[in-house]
């Protein structure tokens, strides 16, 4: 049975995939390593929280090693930093695809990557134009310090532990264009219009055929009646003879 074969192949493939996946770094383990200070400003207004518009506004993100960790050697293994845009809890409610999970491999909080930079203890700044595929939501910025293979070692974020302060609301594009609206209207009108046209054409043809048939039947009936009356007359004459 080919259905069984397909099922078995699928099952083997899935089991293989599952065995390859590994657990990522636990976020809780990084709690003691909040060694970076991060600040994000909306360029136009120079404030750290408020509304930013997709496509036009820029975020200026600056990060550095927290001065209290200077010289402690905590940053010895930091190679790069990953800067990410993360959802605030208010934008995560009722949306399982943005869920925060402790396993960073499965965590969906910071799904939008902004950029990656080389780590220097004095820090760096980046200006990022908010791309048009960013959905409308409330965000904060988080920076992970990673080693050469990309494993997270430390982090810093623009907001506090409860993720309620310094949040940036990003206003998205709708994706609609006037040309799409017009095209949709034109196609819809064409669909309904050609349907009505077809149906009326068929109705007209029917009416013509019905009237032709009507004439035809009427003529045929009068023929029959005439024919029958002639027959009857001949029978009467025959019977009389």
């Amino acid at each position: 049975m080919s259905a069984m074969k397909i099922a078995l192949v699928l099952a083997v493939a899935l089991l293989a995939l599952v065995s390859v996946a590994e657990a990522g770094v636990s976020f809780k383990s990084l709690n003691s390593s909040r060694t970076l200070t991060v600040q994000a400003k909306i360029q136009a207004t120079n404030v750290t929280s408020g509304q930013a518009h997709v496509g036009t506004d820029h975020l200026v993100i600056s990060w550095a090693l927290n001065s209290s960790f200077d010289g402690t050697g905590k940053d010895a293994r930091y190679v790069n930093v990953k800067i990410k845009l993360c959802y605030a809890p208010v934008s995560q409610t009722d949306r399982g695809w943005r869920k925060t999970k402790d396993d960073l491999e499965k965590d969906k909080t910071c799904s939008k990557g902004i950029t990656q930079q080389k780590y220097v203890s004095t820090g760096n700044t980046t200006t990022w134009r908010i791309t048009k595929d960013v959905p409308g939501a409330v965000y904060f910025v988080r920076v992970y310090a990673v080693d050469a293979v990309g494993t997270e070692l430390a982090f810093g974020q623009t907001t506090d532990k409860t993720k309620t302060t310094n949040l940036i609301e990003i206003v998205p594009i709708s994706g609609r264009h006037v040309s799409i609206d017009i095209a949709a209207a034109v196609f819809s009108v064409f669909s309904v219009g050609s349907l009505m046209g077809f149906l009326s054409l068929e109705a007209i043809k029917q009416r013509k055929a019905n009237s032709k048939a009507g004439h035809f039947f009427r003529a045929a009936f009068t023929d029959i009646i005439r024919g029958h009356s002639v027959l009857r007359e001949i029978k009467i004459i025959k019977s009389k003879c």
Partner: protein, 537 residues
């Protein structure tokens, strides 16, 4: 009209006045007098020979899949492609949901409501489509539905709010009523012995549209987003022009080259008197008062209903319970839809094979067995906790459930001849109602976990399938009871009252009754060996 042999009487031979006019006009003028003789080669209204062997109603007795010959095979292909187009557009949104939910800021509840909306619109439209098919013909029904729902598909490109999204999915789902016109059309074109296969193939290949869309829409989106370089929030909107245009193209093709019956369209057949002009209330009355309609509405609610529910919840179930990639979960979901290509026709074939050996009783038993096994496997799916076995059980379970759907429509054409459309519509709507009921009972609130919900769905499926034991055809029997002395003519003729029978309005039902004698099973075929249609003057 079939070419009419002439009943030559003595009067004609002696040259009575008027006799020489026979055949002069070339067009027979007595539509209300049914002078039928068995012609040597059955021909359609235009006198052309049918390319497939046909019965006395000119329904085909064979199915040639690679042929596009008019009228039977062409109708088959038009029918399944139209239905596939509608399934494609109804389920075009789910694979693009990761993008749509970000664009419209949807929550999980919004998505669930949109999912329920996407199977509720078709309840109303399937009921209406049944009566439209009975009164105006499946060609009009199918084409009008395709072209009237195209604007709804185009509206998906311009939604910008949650309510708009839910409304549009609701209106697009009206298109799923093409299922009724598809099954009705197949039952009008194909003889009872292969109607299970024809219905199963057409519906199965149509249902597969739900699986095809899960693979095609993401591809189209990628093409637009990367090929043209459109923004993601614009690309998904443009992608919806594909299903919209498919609607328009198929609608025009069906209108241009489709045909209601092997002998022509309803309008021309009504004019020539071969199709009886029926009334809405009569058709509705005989559909609604037949208790078998409601039994099959319930059982179909728990075979198609289960399939639709699984389509909606299974990707999320695998994603959440087994923590696999969303794309892989989506691919698993699409296989459930794609299995329809084989499993639904298989159900139809099993029904037809059972009928050949045991008659209608075989059809009823095969449906009960297929659906009950499906229910048992559903319970198993809910109880399993491992990924691999779950996938295997899912595939086998969906095969059995979809085969049960195919087997159901091997029986539906025999419940009524007069109200076939109304019954097909009611049963089809029942499928959707079953899905909504199941989703609301077991999957909407957090009372049950998803796996417990799946298990309870299986239990309910087994319970609802048991009502099949109540079905009884006087001329063929039921699952437990043998047939009585009644004949097929009594059963189908009984749908017309005395006055209608006096006017011979029931002649098509009588023809159907003769052809349906095969449902007696081989042991009783030799009884009542009237093989030629009676001549009525």
């Amino acid at each position: 009209m079939a070419p009419q042999g002439e009943n030559q009487t003595d009067a004609d031979l002696t040259g009575e006045p008027g006799s020489s006019l026979h055949g002069v006009t070339g067009h027979e003028v007595f539509p209300f007098i049914n002078m039928e003789t068995v012609a040597e080669e059955p021909t359609d209204l235009k006198g052309r020979k049918f390319s497939l062997p046909v019965d006395s109603e000119h329904k085909a007795k064979k199915l040639k899949i690679y042929s596009f010959a008019r009228p039977h095979m062409l109708t088959f292909h038009l029918s399944w492609i139209s239905f596939m187009t509608c399934f494609f557009s109804t389920f075009a949104a789910p694979p693009l949901l990761p993008i749509i939910r970000e664009n419209l800021n949807l929550t999980k509840k919004d998505i669930a409501n949109a999912g329920i909306a996407s199977v509720s619109g078709s309840i109303i439209s399937r009921l209406l489509m049944g009566t439209i098919c009975d009164l105006f013909g499946p060609r009009y029904g199918c084409a009008i539905l395709l072209m009237a729902t195209a604007p709804a598909v185009f509206c998906m490109s311009i939604v910008s709010s949650v309510d708009g999204f839910i409304l549009v999915r609701f209106f697009i789902s009206f298109a799923l009523a093409t299922f009724v016109s598809c099954q009705f059309w197949m039952s009008s074109m194909f003889n009872g012995q292969i109607v299970g296969l024809a219905n199963g193939l057409a519906a199965g290949w149509g249902n597969a549209g739900g699986g095809i869309t899960q693979l095609v829409m993401p591809l189209v989106y990628d093409l637009i987003a990367k090929g043209i370089g459109a923004e993601s929030f614009t690309a998904w909107r443009l992608a919806f022009f594909l299903p919209g245009c498919m609607h328009i193209v198929m609608g025009l093709i069906v209108l241009a080259i489709g045909q209601d019956l092997p002998d022509g369209n309803y309008s021309s057949l009504k004019r020539s008197g071969d199709k009886v002009n029926d009334t809405f209330f009569k058709v509705l009355q005989y559909g609604v008062t037949n208790y078998r309609t409601w039994i099959f509405t319930i059982t179909y609610g728990y075979c198609l209903g289960v399939e639709l529910t699984v389509d909606n919840i299974i990707a999320q179930y695998f994603y959440d319970r087994f923590d696999i990639n969303l794309k892989i979960a989506g691919t698993i979901g699409s296989t459930v839809g794609l299995m329809n290509i084989i499993s639904r026709p298989a159900g139809g074939i099993i029904s037809d094979m059972a009928a050949r050996r045991f008659g209608m009783r075989g059809r009823l038993w095969s449906l009960w067995i297929l659906q009950t096994i499906g229910g048992v496997l559903c319970i198993g799916l809910g109880l399993l906790g491992n990924l691999g076995p779950s996938v295997v059980v899912l595939v086998i379970f969906s095969t059995f459930m979809e085969a049960a759907c195919g087997a159901t429509f091997g029986i539906i054409p025999f419940i009524s001849r007069r109200s076939l459309g109304v019954i097909s519509g009611a049963v089809g709507a029942g499928g959707n109602a079953g899905s909504i009921l199941t989703q609301v009972l077991f999957f909407q609130s957090s009372k049950y976990s998803t796996e417990k919900g799946i298990m309870l769905m299986g239990v309910m499926a087994i319970a609802c399938t048991a009502v099949l034991f109540l079905v009884y055809f006087p001329q063929w029997g039921g699952m437990l009871c043998p047939p009585s002395k009644a004949t097929e003519e009594d059963y189908y003729g009984g749908e017309w009252n005395e006055a209608e029978r006096a006017k011979n309005l029931h002649r098509n039902s009588i023809k159907f009754a003769e052809n349906s004698r095969t449902e007696r099973g081989p042991s009783r075929q030799s009884q009542n060996s009237d093989s030629s249609p009676p001549t009525k003057v």
